[in-house]
Symmetry: C2
Subunit: 783 residues, 2 copies
């Protein structure tokens, strides 16, 4: 008899989120909700120039303002910092100039928004008033705001310590590109420009730090994806033993990549709390969101594809110039992802991309959702559209001919991973995924609909994009499962919830193993005190790394429950059933004992042996270690209507078929996909972080920087395929970023299709009305 | 080549205490030092009657006082408590009436000092003023203050729900006593009375509770020996999941047994902090120390010993009436220890003790240092003195003839342990221990010194006592060892430091294993957040249980260091040396890498494999499980002078030879022994908690309750024997309570010896001048 007693399987079910009862009632605990007695408020004085030398900072007037507790400049903090600069987050040998930010900049400011001084006061308004009284004398220097121009001879230096403005240069290459181009039937050469945009969580960044005198410990509430790394860096920067720092990511209203980065504020606010022995809170304001939180991706691709006469890709080569921004908080992984994700689900025999990462006087470029992959996908999919056009093939057909097929799985690409392995796709049925999406979207019938619409003067288009996403990145994640005498079960994990429903899926996994209702389970994520080690939230990894860790810990706990019950009940484990928090003897409902009673017994009582000679505590920790990446994939098909008079693009219908392996909770996956698609719609059509030639940001409020709102979003239909991965025992892959990756590519394809009568080409994002009009004006109206 | 690189062995060395630099500079963190912003102060309203019914409590005036935040009675707390009463700490089937205290007493008060209401106010003085305004109407009931009288027909009921005043009754027996007494050459029958006294830490009990809104967690600083149990009970009583409660025993200024007990205040103060959402602190005041903190031991023994003509014990039988006090916070283990420890280091073929635990209207009796053992030892040693006198033998000789000898080890006694095993002495050389002590103390020469003194009209006496102490009680203790990128090493443990130097000895063990200086090590003890499971401080167990756990965790960490270094340096583990925080290649000083760098590498970086395929984190947890008890032993010899005119006893010289197995730090062991002896001197001569017939405590300040001060303490000479125990890999036994156990027995023996000319007998403790005078008046002055 199995020990699960026929318990309802929760994994795979559309279970309601554990998180929602608190969040929907306004009982979430975000950093802004936490206000311990005696709390002070912080505001930063930030650079108003893109590139300048600080000649002097006068804080006299600010310090004199009533209600101000402290005003710190770099000079004030210097002797409290064990290390002057925040080390690069993702080191790489390809980095030519390590550009680590200071906690407060002491001399050379390199973008608008750099923190130069910190004010701590009784209230936020006093702190802001005092910040306004700080008088800074600058020597303004010329900025670099165009990465391509920054590489030319005679360009100004974005930083005085870096003559060539080149942060890093490297190639991603394999196969024989020369041979591929030599034997090509067709060569497509294109130029693409991808724009800068942000993560734009509902909750901005925020920190609340307090020094607990009783514990002799700094406790930092941090709206971050990476609390364990934040703990290590705060300890390092402040010269504290690690145990004296606890970082907690409480409820977090979205991470999306920018909260992966470790920021100067994450040192400055804790240090202020230590110096003042008072809780200090800082919450990002609207301007800081655009100027002090990292963004992504000005990229310029010049790229050529070689193919045979049937449209099979033979090779791709080209260059990618990437705006790296003013510092290197993240390293080179972002354009690296663009390059490696470029090949997507396709067989590409040869590839040679030359990458240049250019230092500019703009906010540092670090990943947002998709982490460079939407850019690589956009470029590949645009190339395939152009190839189809050149060969007179259907866009879907040219893709089908290039797709990796299931019998090739696991498919070893030519691309090297970060730690020297080879990028290998683990599972998936890419042709079926595309075929299902086309069928669902009515691809075959679309030309008829398009013709009918044109007859009415309406310009419809349809587009598609395939993608893969490397998810579940290691090297590990940690989890623990513990049961107390109350009978409540606590899952702890180094994974960090950002609002995805992490607690729910982990509870589903545990509840299935232990035969309990999910309501018995609490989940503590994002607290460095909960697990000794942990990584956090990135690379769509929570389900695929923390999930198996929870599974392993739950299984160990289950074994311990059965062993303890066997000892107490004198019944063999095989005759015991775990059900609803009880251990029952098979065939005797209501018999046996409770998990709570076993937990009580396993606490240990002085001088009494533990049941069954077991170790104390009804709990277990587990590490899930994984170095391979598991690849999700999917196909998006979108139908649009373009108004050639206004240049406006309206999305009519959006079809997603995607495969992220086994589904733990389809509802939650759909939430992730939906949100990702909307993020992608924003990137395709609306969001655009712009800078003036003087390096001043021009889009620092949501009136200028447009986020998609409800009426920008068409009906989105989602279909699941499930190709379990062999890389973890749950068979799950990640889904958090998938929705974003192909969206802009599919929309661009559809817009170009709608504008085919005008031969207008889309090579830039976002596809604004002005750009559509510009494309039309360059072309000849045919109909 | 060994991996320790010839590192200096710290285990066994007289290393200075890690704790002292902070404590000596006034930087300790006791509960009274912790004062978070917004903290409120608590005072309790306590019963002024020993036995009464509460007719009404009027808190109107108290609540109206300015600065008062809340006044709670039992009725106010009832619906916040998941369980109305605090469960008994050490359950036993022998308990006939479970007398669990309420958090605040609602109806029947059973001793002076019971908490009836709780006031929380802006300051301690306001809280006390308000407490004075609470108006309580009592119906006074007759009290039981004499346990023997409490068992007689017609005695008043100490509690209305318990007609016979008998909390528990049981026997400790083995062998054939009838046969022993039938064949005895001599039978000694004696009556002994042992008195009530306390633990009297330098720091009293205290609590600071705060509800952390950010963590959604109750954090309780508690001056306790048992933080993990406190966490479980607070969670149970308040109906909270265990993870929502964190208990920290910060610096604790002595435990000594009373802080083993879980008290009503440990629920009331946390509950107030939750209700008020403000930190609330309560510190025991002087009166509470005597009336609200448990004490030990009114015991009356009527006992007979049977021996053969050579003085070999054949059997002992008798009765023990034990004052249990008004509640059962501890169970029956205290008189149980008295009974089982009675046999001490002697061969006792038969034993039959009938124990009656009497409910009285006095403070509950729970262990203080020695936990009932000093009383058992006192009775046995007094019996042996009387036997020697009867047979005309030297007191040491009659003991020598009865001592267990080394070839009998492990020696299985006839006594059953708490969980059904048999009390077994693991190692020790009892005859050598006594012989060494006699030799050191000049026992053989003493009669000459005594005669010379008497010639001068001075009455000298010498006394001795042997003892064993069961130490290192299980079932387990937990420890962890973790190293961060800072290179600092943190030991966590479920053991709880009470000022003994626990951190120092654990650091010695770890430093030896890892080849580092102790200054690199921090120790976190007594924090439920530091280890998932833990027991705490009791039964002289820290070194013998946490020590091996730290050893095991350190060894695992060492293996991991070597494995990681092997992977990074490509050198076999056997060629690596751990020294001063570095891993060096043998023969190449300065080569290799640092432990800090390995810790950094093992943190894990997104997407990079960990060195050597190791699990993340340079740390390990370990559980040391043990169900057997390890027995320390020793012999005390004391020389006294008694003034027959005043009855005053002056101690002249005190010799200790003791054996607690392998010594980790002789200096610290000596500190424990010294403190224990002084505690024993207090019990023998000074300390006496007295009650009037109305149940009113009479000794509630240190002017009445006498603690030994410096000029009461003679030179104390300590010699170590080391008989390692086979029960743990360090070979260590406990020493914390040893000094106290034989002290009163040895002093009584010496006083009786000094008074031999008067034939005055000592059968009561403490040996006050009044009692000496009384004994003299009953006897005939001979000289």
């Amino acid at each position: 008899m199995s020990a699960d007693g026929g318990h309802r399987r929760l994994v795979g079910a559309r279970v309601r989120r554990l998180e929602d009862p608190a969040l929907l009632r306004g009982r979430g605990r975000y950093v802004g909700d936490i206000a311990p007695a005696g709390m002070l408020h912080a505001a930063f004085v930030r650079s108003q120039h893109a590139h300048a030398l600080i000649k002097s900072i006068d804080v006299t007037a600010a310090r004199a303002l009533e209600g101000v507790h402290a005003v710190y400049t770099a000079a004030d903090l210097a002797h409290h910092l064990k290390h002057p600069r925040i080390p690069v987050g993702m080191p790489s040998g390809a980095i030519r100039h390590v550009l680590d930010p200071e906690v407060l900049t002491s001399r050379e400011v390199c973008h608008v928004g750099e923190a130069l001084a910190l004010v701590v006061a009784e209230s936020r308004s006093i702190a802001e008033d005092a910040a306004g009284l700080v008088d800074i004398d600058y020597e303004v220097l010329p900025p670099v705001v165009d990465p391509v121009a920054g590489l030319t001879n005679g360009a100004p230096q974005a930083r005085l310590d870096c003559a060539d403005n080149l942060a890093a240069a490297f190639r991603v290459n394999y196969g024989d590109c020369d041979s591929a181009f030599n034997k090509a039937a067709v060569v497509i050469t294109e130029h693409f420009e991808l724009h800068k945009g942000g993560g734009h969580s509902i909750e901005g960044r925020g920190l609340l730090a307090q020094f607990d005198g009783g514990l002799d410990q700094l406790v930092v509430f941090d709206s971050t994806q990476m609390p364990h790394r934040a703990k290590a860096l705060i300890a390092t920067m402040l010269g504290l033993a690690e145990y004296r720092v606890r970082v907690v990511a409480p409820d977090v209203g979205g991470g999306f990549g920018p909260k992966f980065v470790f920021y100067p504020e994450e040192v400055a606010i804790p240090l202020a709390a230590m110096l003042l022995r008072r809780p200090v809170r800082w919450l990002e304001d609207g301007y800081e969101r655009f100027t002090a939180t990292t963004q992504e991706r000005d990229q310029v691709w010049d790229i050529s594809a070689a193919a045979d006469a049937e449209g099979h890709l033979l090779g791709v080569r080209g260059t990618l110039v990437h705006d790296h921004g003013a510092y290197t908080p993240y390293g080179i992984a972002l354009p690296g992802n663009s390059a490696t994700n470029f090949i997507g689900p396709y067989v590409l025999p040869a590839f040679d991309l030359d990458l240049k990462l250019v230092i500019t006087n703009m906010i540092p470029a670090t990943p947002t959702r998709g982490a460079g992959r939407p850019q690589g996908t956009f470029v590949m999919e645009r190339l395939l559209d152009r190839l189809a056009e050149r060969l007179g093939l259907d866009r879907a057909e040219v893709r089908r001919r290039n797709l990796i097929v299931p019998r090739q799985m696991p498919y070893v690409t030519g691309v090297k991973t970060r730690d020297g392995g080879t990028m290998t796709y683990d599972s998936g049925d890419y042709p079926r995924c595309q075929a299902d999406a086309l069928q669902k979207a009515g691809w075959a019938d679309f030309p008829a609909r398009q013709r009918a619409a044109r007859a009415q003067g309406r310009y419809l288009g349809i587009g598609l994009s395939n993608y893969v996403e490397g998810t579940g990145r290691g090297p590990f994640e940690a989890a623990g499962v513990r049961i107390g005498p109350s009978g409540r079960i606590v899952i702890t994990t180094g994974a960090t919830a950002q609002g995805q429903g992490t607690a729910t899926i982990l509870a589903q996994i545990c509840a299935d193993e232990l035969g309990v209702d999910m309501s018995m389970i609490d989940v503590i994520a994002g607290d460095t005190a909960a697990t000794a080690v942990g990584l956090g939230a990135f690379a769509s990894r929570q389900a695929a790394t923390a999930g198996p860790a929870v599974l392993a810990a739950s299984r160990t706990v289950k074994e311990k429950i059965l062993a303890a019950a066997t000892s107490q009940l004198e019944v063999a484990p095989a005759d015991l059933i775990l059900r609803d928090g009880r251990v029952e003897v098979a065939g005797a409902p209501g018999s046996g004992t409770t998990i709570a009673a076993l937990a009580q017994a396993l606490q240990g009582l002085p001088g009494y042996a533990l049941p069954g000679g077991l170790e104390p505590g009804l709990g277990a920790d587990a590490i899930f270690s994984v170095n391979a990446i598991t690849y999700s994939n999917g196909t998006h098909v979108v139908e649009v209507e373009v108004d050639p008079d206004t240049g406006a693009v309206k999305l009519l219908r959006y079809v997603v078929v995607h495969d992220c392996g086994r589904l733990i909770n389809p509802t939650l996956v759909e939430g992730q996909i939906l949100g990702g698609v909307v993020h992608g719609i924003g990137q395709a059509l609306y969001e655009w972080m712009r800078y003036g030639e003087d390096g001043q940001p021009l889009t620092t409020q949501y009136a200028d920087y447009l986020l998609p709102i409800a009426n920008c979003v068409p009906p989105i239909e989602i279909t699941h395929l499930e190709s379990p991965t062999p890389l973890n025992p749950l068979g799950v892959k990640g889904a958090g970023e998938s929705g974003t990756i192909p969206a802009a590519a599919a929309i661009a394809s559809a817009v170009e299709d709608a504008l085919r009568p005008f031969d207008a080409k889309i090579y830039q994002l976002p596809i604004t009305p002005m750009r559509v009009r510009a494309a039309l004006s360059k072309s000849q109206r045919r109909n």
